[in-house]
Structures are given as structure tokens and as C-alpha cells.
């Protein structure tokens, strides 16, 4: 079975800017794959390379074993859910969804039936006659999803599709997308800058920074065993400890990461630190500690006693919680 998408040393340069820089990437068929990174990290350009809106400056791309370079977007069996949804304003919802079928020459009756089925799948049955302008952001998003899925693509690309939705709707859509992906068995490639979204939805994640992939792995791996300082910091704001501090705390002169929620406060044992700030997050309280000049944050579960600012505390962790990343991470 070939990979759904494979990149071999793919670069895309815009003038002197290396938007994508020698990226190797393999996405398995049927997997929910997230491309995670800050804005400008090259994740969206990678998505556009798969869709065919961009062509690589160098390197080789395959989609299900077929060479993709030089193939225009309209000849690729790949569909995209755009960040701004890009619904056609002059067409009603049903015609928007049926657009791909219309282009392929599918008859009117079958088109209507399939569009309605796709709308039902995204829980918008009976919305066909409305214009996109009459829909809410969440509904537009579902229409965009139906419009892409009705073509039965081999790969569905989603470009920050939940970015414009409010928190509650976003959580609901995350769940629905996951259920939909499992039910359809289509490969989903999802671009996001929200690490929580990537961790909760994806089977595997590629973390991007400055046009390169920093690490690829399951959410668990990325979260528990970050390979670099960037990954540790970007995925869930882990504490990145310098080799000096790691040596003082654990006896090894390497960069390390220590998750805020893995740190316990106690009255004896462990190491000493002073509290420099506290902020209440609702389900937890974030504590900033100063340990010989380096800042460490600690997540206290709600209900625990919150020390005063300036108070001296002692902290400790399970040995397995401290993750070493090597001297050069």
C-alpha cells in the first residue's frame, strides 16, 4: 500500500524565503494527520503543495504513488476545505455542494440526491435552498466540508477549518470531524496552529517550524517525548530546562523538558524555588517559579493550596516526567 502522500526533499521557495525547506513527509492512507506549527512555519504551503496550488521548487511529491508535480489542482483526487470556506456566493447551498459533480458532468437528479446526502452527513439536511450569506460561520464550515466530501476525494485537506469558530462550536466540530474521518476512512490532512486541536484529533502530528519538520509522531510521543526545545515549548508550553539547570536538578548536562502538570509542590524534599506569579485558569492555577534565575511554570490542580507570591516552596517530580532532549536540542 503506497503512502497517501509522500514528500521527498520537497522545497518551495518564494524569492529568498524558504517557505518549505527540504521536507520529508509520509502520510499513511486512512490516517488523520495534523500539520502543526506557528504562522509562517510552512504548514499551509505544504497543504497547498498537496492540493496543487503550489508547485515545489525542488523535490518530489507522490499522492497514492502517483507523481504530483506538474499536475494541476483540477486533475488531483484531492479536495480542500478552505480557511475562509470559499463558498460560491452566487450559488445556493445545494449547488455549492454539487459543484464538483456538476463539473464532472453528473446528471441533475443524481447531483441533487448526492448533495442532499452530503448535507445530511454534515447535519445540515434541508439547507440546500439557502444562500451561503444566510448561514452562520459553523454552518458555512459544514457546507464547505460537504462540498469537498461529496467528490469522494482520496485525501481531504483542511486548512485551519475551525479557526473562525467559537470555542464551544470548535470542540463540537473537532469531535464530529474525527467521527466522520473514521467512518469514511478518507485520509485527512489538517493544518492548525492550535496544539490542543492537533493533539486531540490527529493520529499523527508533524510539528513545523521555519519551513522544516521538527518532529513527526503520535500526539503522545510529541507531547511526552519532544525532540527539540521548539517542540517542547510549542506543544503545550512545556518547561524547557537548560543543560545547566538540568545538571543541577537531575545530574545530566542536557536540555530537558518538564511538563507543568507533572510538577508537585511539597514542604520537604525536592528543590527550592520562589513563587514569582500566579494566574487562575479555571480548572487549574498556573504558578511561575524562579529556580536560580530560570523560570518554571507549574500547573496546580484546583483545590490545591495556592502559595503566595514571593513565598518559598519546594518542588519535585517523578523521575520519568523529566524528558532529556540531548545536549544540542
Amino acid at each position: 500500500m503506497p503512502y497517501a502522500v509522500s514528500f521527498q526533499q520537497v522545497s518551495r521557495h518564494f524569492g529568498s524565503v524558504r517557505a518549505v525547506d527540504a521536507v520529508d513527509l509520509e502520510i499513511e492512507a486512512g490516517e488523520f494527520f495534523a500539520m502543526l506549527g506557528p504562522s509562517g512555519s510552512g504548514k499551509t504551503t505544504c497543504l497547498r503543495l498537496i492540493a496543487g496550488f503550489e508547485q515545489p521548487t525542488s523535490g518530489h511529491i507522490e499522492i497514492f504513488g502517483e507523481t504530483a508535480e506538474g499536475v494541476p489542482p483540477y486533475r488531483r483526487n484531492v479536495n480542500t476545505v478552505f480557511q475562509d470556506y470559499a463558498l460560491f456566493p452566487h450559488l445556493n447551498v445545494a449547488d455549492n455542494v454539487a459543484y464538483g459533480l456538476m463539473i464532472r458532468g453528473v446528471g441533475k437528479a443524481e447531483r441533487t440526491r448526492e448533495a442532499e446526502a452530503a448535507l445530511e452527513m454534515v447535519k445540515l439536511p434541508g439547507y440546500g435552498a439557502r444562500k451561503p450569506g444566510q448561514l452562520s460561520g459553523g454552518q458555512r464550515q459544514r457546507v464547505a466540508l460537504a462540498r469537498a466530501l461529496v467528490n469522494k476525494p482520496k485525501v481531504l485537506l483542511l486548512d485551519e477549518p475551525l479557526g473562525a469558530l467559537d470555542l464551544k462550536l470548535r470542540e463540537q466540530m473537532q469531535e464530529e470531524l474525527k467521527v466522520l474521518q473514521k467512518a469514511l476512512g478518507i485520509t485527512f490532512v489538517f493544518v492548525t496552529h492550535d496544539q490542543g486541536e492537533a493533539l486531540s484529533m490527529a493520529d499523527r502530528i508533524a510539528v513545523f517550524n521555519e519551513g522544516r519538520i521538527m518532529q513527526t509522531g503520535t500526539p503522545e510521543e510529541i507531547y511526552r517525548r519532544p525532540k527539540t526545545r521548539f517542540v517542547a515549548d510549542f506543544v503545550g508550553s512545556s518547561n524547557v530546562l537548560s543543560p545547566q539547570l538540568t545538571e543541577r536538578l537531575a545530574g545530566v548536562a542536557e536540555w530537558s523538558s518538564l511538563r507543568p502538570e507533572d510538577i508537585r509542590l511539597g514542604s520537604e524534599g525536592g528543590h527550592e524555588a520562589s513563587v514569582t506569579g500566579t494566574s487562575f485558569l479555571g480548572s487549574a492555577t498556573r504558578l511561575s517559579l524562579d529556580v536560580t534565575g530560570e523560570k518554571i511554570s507549574v500547573l496546580l490542580p484546583s483545590g490545591a493550596r495556592v502559595p503566595e507570591q514571593g513565598e518559598s516552596v519546594r518542588f519535585s517530580w517523578d523521575t520519568s516526567a523529566l524528558h532529556l532532549m540531548g545536549p544540542q536540542a
Binding site: Y74, V78, F82, D84
Partner: protein, 271 residues
Amino acid sequence: MRSDKQSRTPMGLKIAAGAGLAFLHLPILLIFLYAFTTEDKSYQFPPPGLTLKWFAVTWNRPDVWEALGLSVRVASISTVVALVLGTLCAAAISQTRFFGREAISLLVILPIALPGIITGISLRSAFNLAEIPFSFWTIVLGHATFCVVVVYNNAVARFRRVSGSLIEASMDLGADGFQTFRHVILPNIGTALLAGGMLAFALSFDEVIVTTFTAGQQATLPIWMLEELVRPRQRPVTNVVAMVVVLVTFLPILAAYYLTRDGDQISGQGK
């Protein structure tokens, strides 16, 4: 509050506004009135009597039909040329980035800012230099210079609203360039093109200055009217034709206004 909506407009201002509007439009009504006069030597006021016979006389004058036919053909072909070139130009300017884009945008609009007499003289000397005989096609060419601008201005404003991602979405869903134009771009810029085309038609239909310089022996309707006023045969015939011109040019402008009212303003009415 001084800016209270309830406050009364001063009577003097009302009268001034009324007088201004009357000054603008009464002469036009007078033109209409003299189309019905029984007296054909001078514009005597009030007309000694009213008659509809000039409509019949006009109908039977072959020179009127000739001029009208020429004007309609010139305006139609200029509009078609303007629609094709203006749309292509607007697409290039609004959808792509290239060196010299701003300069080209300015150069396209320039003919409408130039006085017609400059356009006319320069075209005439250019035709002379190239030894192109004046004909129907030189008139069309002259009119196309400003018609393109009107179409371009209307189309470019609408093109900006067709976001790039709509075109990408269409391509993503399997449509090639032509299908995307037909199913996505055209429906979105259609009314702007219609409005631009109607304005272009109206502008071409009553154009005098550029036409004087680029026409050979042919007389378009406005030129014919000018000649009639200098050497009148049956004076009210000119008034009847004037009414027709007003209707033929006013209706498209009105239609263009209503078609684009919800969207962009119509650019280029000021020519």
C-alpha cells in the same frame, strides 16, 4: 442640537436648490416641447400650436435612419470590444501581481481623464501618420478608447470582491480555467459587466468630439444633429431625434444604476 434632523431647511436654500435643478433640466424639457411645435422656422415661445406630424416626418427621412444606424453599429461594436478588453485587463490587474501593474492600471484609466479633444487630435494624427483611411472602424477605435475604461472600472471593482480562494476552490473541485470562468467568475462579475457595457454604449452613442476627428464622411447621430442645427431643413425633426437620443442613452444608464446599486458605484459617468 444644530444637526437635528427635525430642524427646518431655510426657505432661501430650498429655493436655490429648486432653481438649480430647474436650470439643469428645463432646457431639456424645452427640447422635448419643440418636438411638438407647429412652427418650423424659429424657436418661438410659446409654440403657436402642437402637432405630432414631425414624428412622421422624421420617420420618413432616410438621413436620420442612416445616422441612427451608424451610431447603433458603432456603439455596439465599441461596447463589445470594450467588454472583451476591459474584462481581460481587469482580470490581469486584480488577480495577479507583476512588474508595472500600477502603471498599466493608470494608463488604462488615462483616456477617460484626458479631454476628448486631445484623444481626438492624437488619434487623427496617428491615423494620418499610419495612412489609415477614415472609416467606420476608425470611429469604433476612437470610441473604444474610453469605452474600455468604463468597462474596466466596473469590472475591476467587482473582481476585487471575487476572492482568490473562490477561484482556487473551483479548481480544487475539478474545474479547469474555462469552467471556472464560466461558472464562478462570470456569474460574480456579470452585473458589473452589464452595467459597464450599458454605460459604454451610452457614452459611445452620444459622443461628438472624438467622432469629429476620427470620422470620414460618415455622420453619427450626434454629428448629424450638429449639422442640422447649423443648416436646418425641418427644425423640429432635430428635436424629435434629440428625444430619441435622450431615451436611448438614459435608459441604459438608469438600468446600469439599478443593476449595481447594491454593489459598487458605477465608475465613469463623468465622461
